[in-house]
């Protein structure tokens, strides 16, 4: 075999390979050219130049001189203050009964309606609930989270067999491997929006159509990532258990799961959180949730409301992340 000599070669004569092959260089060169062409087609060059100008403008203390910086400032100035209160105009003041007001609510006869620039457009007579909008958003968010949880549960249930059959070393044969991987790809490729609409036609509008859409679409993600991680797990412990004659399921449970559990948890958390963000989809099929509110507020230029909703989503994401981090820390247990 190869050119091993019979007497050992002294170290000084050992053949060292260069790290970068000429093939790699050629590939890199071609890639660079293609990227350069594409950069122009995709306006990356222009975008970078604009950003550069904006940064220069800001650094020089003249943000107004850059269109980009101006746009940012304009948006940020409109995003605050957050909208916390809600109001309901009183249409028949003579019928108004102050005793039926909910807790903390009060009547404001000169409640100002402001435009996006913060200027008062007109005044109305309204019942004001000081944290009315916040509680409303909270309620929507709870609805959304519930549905997101069901979507995630469904997704996990679908993805477990996909992962098993999609993991080399566990799948029974090449065929089942390819089928599982193809289903994962397919589920990922179909936009959940379209899936939601199709399910709405089949099942009627409502939460279930949204749950199915979220579950099916994201099972493509979970299936692939679970499978990849299983394939990628350290082989030693797996071999050790497999060599005792334990079946594949048991090897997975005892040699792979302890290794990959932290990642699996992260994937699950991501899907849950992503399903919360995909709430728009739920709105489209009439399942309620935060999505429609966000969408419509945005379309109405109600940036104050939008900020409130985004902040609420951020807090949800943050809490999910905190919970997951704790469980992870336990699992990793360093």
């Amino acid at each position: 075999m190869n050119n091993d000599t019979t007497t050992p070669k002294p170290a000084a004569e050992w053949q060292l390979r260069s790290v970068y092959s000429t093939r790699l260089f050629a590939l890199l060169a071609v890639g660079a050219v293609l990227l350069a062409i594409s950069a122009h087609r995709s306006e990356v060059d222009k975008g970078l130049a604009d950003s550069g100008r904006a940064i220069v403008a800001v650094v020089r203390g003249k943000p107004e001189s850059s269109r980009v910086a101006r746009g940012w400032l304009r948006f940020l100035s409109q995003a605050f203050p957050l909208v916390i209160a809600s109001y309901e105009p009183i249409e028949n003041p003579e019928e108004f009964n102050p005793d039926t007001l909910p807790a903390f609510a009060y009547r404001d006869t000169k409640y100002p309606i402001k435009d996006t620039m913060g200027d008062v457009v007109r005044y109305v007579d309204a019942v004001v609930k000081p944290i009315g909008y916040l509680t409303y958003v909270g309620g929507l968010l709870v609805q959304t989270i519930e549905i997101a949880i069901w979507g995630t549960i469904l997704s996990v249930l679908i993805s477990i067999p996909l992962a098993y059959f999609g993991a080399a070393g566990y799948t029974p044969n090449k065929f089942s491997y390819n089928v599982a991987r193809a289903i994962c790809n397919m589920n990922r490729a179909i936009p959940e929006l379209i899936a939601a609409l199709v399910f709405a036609v089949a099942y009627g509008q409502g939460a279930w159509a949204g749950i199915l859409a979220l579950g099916v679409h994201t099972s493509g993600f979970l299936g692939k990532f679970f499978a990849d991680d299983i394939e990628n797990a350290a082989k030693g412990p797996q071999e050790a258990l497999a060599s005792t004659g334990a079946n594949k399921l048991k090897v997975l449970r005892y040699a792979v799961l302890p290794q990959v559990m932290p990642q699996f948890l992260a994937y699950g958390q991501y899907i849950l959180e992503r399903n919360v963000r995909s709430a728009t989809v739920l709105g489209i099929v009439g399942a309620g949730g935060i999505g429609v509110e966000l969408n419509e507020r945005w379309k109405q230029f109600d940036y104050g409301h939008v900020s409130t909703i985004l902040l609420a989503i951020f807090i949800t994401v943050f809490i999910l992340e905190q919970i997951a981090q704790r469980v992870r820390a336990r699992l990793i247990g360093e």
């Binding site: 249409e91 309606i113 435009d115 609409l197 509008q205 429609v292 379309k299």
Partner: protein
């Protein structure tokens, strides 16, 4: 039989109502607008409803075709499409001051120097949603009539998604023209989202029939009759306190008219004959190409 039966409005099988918020409507706002009338009908006529708010006309049409939705609002154009694809019947049309109509318009910036539809040649125009009557079909027809082919003669076509987005694109200077209904424009101005001086109405459309409330034609005849009666009478029923009757997009109306003739919709579609599927396709292509 095996086949699942259609709702009859009983408490066990409520009629499924699917509402799509009009431009400038939020989910709870839409619900709040229509719940009083449906509740009133339940109270008086013992017809029960399951009201949902979604946001895709497309899904509503298909769901009606599959007997998954019983009552829904449509735009004038989407009503035609719905009739093509599903067994849909007119339930009622909102009426105010004896009229059931509204208007679409094409707007430009006040300082743009655009004064007539011809001036839009070579300019960028934002439309709303392709399935929208007043932010797409009518304006497209108006441009065509003025000799500006929206698929060929514009610099770029932007599909902004809805009226408000189209107007916003116009205000921010990204486009030179925007198509929207006069009601949407007024609502944006009222809410302080636009200043009336910034924009001008270049051309107003002819009257468009108000968005109809439609029902699934497969419902039992008895149910259909009950529904029509209810909508005809509810506004003057002594037992129901409907402080204000709301119509599409939450505006105040006088009554619902279940006897509006279908022919008037067909008539209103006549000016849209020029807006063929090919034209739509071509406009979508222009929009997809970007600018």
């Amino acid at each position: 039989s095996d086949t699942e039966s259609l709702p009859d409005g009983s408490a066990e099988l409520p009629l499924r109502v699917m509402l799509v918020p009009a431009d400038g409507g939020t989910e709870d706002g839409t619900r709040a607008d229509f719940e009083p009338i449906f509740n009133g009908i339940t109270q008086v006529y013992d017809l029960h409803f399951d009201i949902r708010v979604g946001s895709s006309y497309n899904a509503v049409v298909e769901a009606m075709a599959n007997d998954q939705v019983d009552i829904a609002f449509f735009g004038a154009v989407s009503y035609q499409i719905a009739k093509q694809r599903a067994n849909v019947e007119l339930l009622a049309v909102e009426e105010r001051d004896g009229k059931s109509e509204y208007f679409s318009g094409i707007y430009a910036r006040a300082d743009s120097g655009i004064d007539s539809l011809e001036d839009f040649a070579g300019k960028t125009v934002a439309f709303g949603d392709v399935s929208s009557t007043s932010s797409f079909s009518y304006p497209a027809a108006m441009l065509l009539e003025a000799g500006v082919n929206p698929a060929q003669d514009l610099k770029a076509v932007v599909l902004a998604g809805n009226h408000a987005n189209a107007l916003r694109a116009l205000v921010s200077g990204n486009v030179d023209g925007a198509c929207a209904s006069l009601d949407s424009f007024k609502k944006a101005v009222d809410d302080g989202k636009l200043s009336e001086q910034e924009l001008k109405l270049v051309q107003k459309s002819q009257p468009i029939p108000s968005p109809p409330l439609a029902m699934n034609g497969n419902l039992a005849d008895k149910t259909k009759t009950q529904l029509k009666t209810a909508f005809r009478e509810i506004h003057e029923h002594p037992d129901v306190e409907l402080r204000s009757l709301k119509g599409y997009a939450g505006k105040n109306i006088d009554r619902y008219n279940p006897d509006f003739s279908e022919e008037r919709f067909d008539l209103a579609m006549a000016p849209l004959d020029a807006v063929t599927k090919e034209l739509k396709d071509a406009m979508i292509r222009r929009a997809a190409e970007g600018n």
